[in-house]
Symmetry: C2
Subunit: 394 residues, 2 copies
């Protein structure tokens, strides 16, 4: 694959930083961009990632110390169009990888202001990116992180981005209709519509990745040095399901499954996220093409996931229990779920499947940091419907 | 119909003010809300409505002078959650009629900043409204103005809001998938998704009106007194197709049809807008229901519309010519278009169809104000793709 100029938006994050390291290691010229909003949200909620995370300035220096590779750093806010246009005009990226959004459904559901912040931050940031590409670097390939949660749980198969509908003797292929489950997921649906427009009307090239729930504590590069660790969250606002279960197991806390745990979703290893992004960058969309990949490797119900962690915990001598708690979300706990995910496999993705070994690795790495685990962060305080309306719902 | 407390957001606008008068006349307690953003956009673009429009404070007083009816006035910005929640908590509306958005596709396409403003203003304003209903007045029925332009021009029939899809032996009913044609239209698609969520998750009651292109210069109430006129725009940014053609005819300007004029859309009389809103308010959606009406009465191609104006102009002795100009928009000029619109008819809508008489009325009323027509405002300067990307598009 040829060497590219790659801009990574949200380069200080759980996935952004490991992606930056992997692409730098692969020989690309990489710049990371962040406004450190996530570190503000941590302060707001009183939470911390499991591993101590140096500043991004320090991480970039550590990367050079450890590997000799250079990752450039730009600090700024994507909702500031002047910043974004200058960035794209100066760096002229072959590929922009856009992780730079507020990524938590519970955070978006705290109240009206957090919902508005999430949608405004995500939608306007992404709009600025597509306008900057149009006006300053139209050949740039946008690789945008969406989520499988955009689809919701329709009663038919979930296709990869598009759906051909036969109706009254005629046929049309639509962007797959979405029924998302939170203000955050809605923001990603809005982004997808805006990107679709940019491809249709301006001829931009984009890959929209509907990513599943990511788990894992490290990648090849993050394991090279403690200063290169990624920002792993286990709390109820930013932690993802499997990551939280592993942390709960490590401190003898019951694995808290929302409701019956029948909610089925797609999952993938953080190492596969990095692999998928590389594949998307190496195989760009054509001008005018909006390509959609469903980016996950396996489907599990939440209860199956907890069960896997329970069994793996037994192997390392821990006695994890599963506890069913009230579901703070409003979602179907029993539903049809069959989502296609072949396009990344066709490009060469070699999944690292969830296995007891993997869980063992995670459990070991997490166990080494149990002194940093804050039990208070495991309590879910955000409710999807904080006040019960004074009306009876069917 | 019983008397309601009705809040009209965007009450200073082309449709908001006539709606307020009609509902006040019908005996409802009406309050109008505006932040006068539209008057700022007029200053920005150097345009004016055809009829002189007093301040909203003066219009409300004129309404009382002329009819004895009281319309309350609240000034504030819907993107300010504190304002919106206090408004909804204090007024406790039975119905909120939400016209309070940036309504122009060309305005939204001026550049990145106007696109971001349009989406931020519209999406966050609407989000604040649904959160305020949830938290302060959950029984309130939201009547939200969307647009037929949200659908785009799919190759299958356009249904009223929802589409049942059979796929691989299973079936699911989706919100009808949308393929909108501007940053403005996208903002309304985002609104629809957010409202759908509010109905599904919080049990809100909402009616989303996918309105066609509105034409007309007056309603029963606006004709009562010159001070009650509505804010009629004929310029290329805020004027709608038929309104612009009539103004062009009145000053002997060619009727400028974009491209071939094959673009087919749904149209309705401003009097029917007012009638539709009344019907929606009188027949509220159920708790948890998101009801979608396609609000238009007739379909025409742009060329047919221009032709009707040409013929009507002949009746009053004017010699209007049709001129095909470059289409500043990027849209299909020949396409399938068949949009269902029966739900408002089922509720009792009695359409006032476009007729030569109607055009005559419009032409007469407009002719009386030709001295206020600014020819410079008829030139379309906004381009859907202002810079041609340096790549060849298929």
């Amino acid at each position: 694959m040829s060497t590219q100029r790659i801009l990574i938006l949200g380069g200080d994050g759980y996935l952004g930083w490991p992606t930056a390291m992997a692409l730098s290691q692969a020989g690309h010229r990489v710049a990371v961009v962040d406004n450190f909003a996530k570190r503000q949200w941590e302060l707001e909620l009183g939470i911390q990632p499991l591993f101590p995370i140096p500043t991004l300035h320090e991480r970039v220096r550590a990367w050079q110390d450890v590997t000799g590779g250079e990752i450039e750093l730009r600090v700024g806010d994507l909702t500031d169009y002047g910043f974004v246009e200058a960035l794209v005009r100066d760096f002229k990226p072959d590929t922009i990888i856009h992780y730079g959004e507020q990524p938590s459904a519970p955070y978006s559901m705290i109240d009206a202001r957090h919902a508005a912040y999430t949608q405004s931050n995500n939608v306007i940031g992404n709009l600025n990116v597509i306008f900057a590409i149009r006006d300053a670097s139209p050949e740039t390939h946008l690789v945008k992180l969406g989520t499988m949660g955009e689809y919701g749980t329709p009663n038919i198969d979930i296709e990869e981005g598009f759906l051909t509908v036969d109706h009254n003797g005629r046929s049309h292929t639509f962007l797959y209709p979405k029924t998302p489950g939170s203000m955050y997921h809605l923001s990603k649906v809005h982004d997808s519509h805006n990107i679709h427009f940019a491809c249709r009307i301006w001829g931009l090239r984009a890959t929209d990745l509907n990513q599943g729930v990511v788990y894992g504590v490290e990648t090849d590069e993050s394991g090279l040095d403690p200063r290169l660790a990624t920002s792993f969250h286990y709390d109820e606002v930013f932690g993802t399901a499997l990551n939280r279960f592993c942390v709960q197991a490590a401190i003898g806390h019951p694995l808290t499954v929302y409701g019956k745990g029948g909610q089925t979703r797609g999952y993938l290893n953080i190492r596969d996220t990095v692999q998928c992004i590389s594949l998307a960058a190496d195989n760009p969309a054509a001008p005018g093409e909006m390509r959609v990949f469903n980016q996950f490797t396996e489907q599990f119900s939440v209860l199956e996931l907890a069960e896997r962690v329970r069994v793996a915990s037994k192997h390392v001598g821990w006695d994890a229990e599963i506890e069913h708690v009230d579901n703070p979300r409003i979602e179907s706990e029993e539903h049809y779920y069959n989502a296609r995910h072949t396009k990344l496999l066709d490009l060469g993705l070699e999944p690292r499947l969830l296995s007891d070994e993997l869980i063992d690795t995670m459990l070991g790495k997490i166990h080494a940091h149990t002194d940093r685990i804050d039990r208070a962060a495991l309590v879910q305080n955000v409710r999807w419907a904080p006040r019960v309306p004074e009306l009876s719902l069917a």
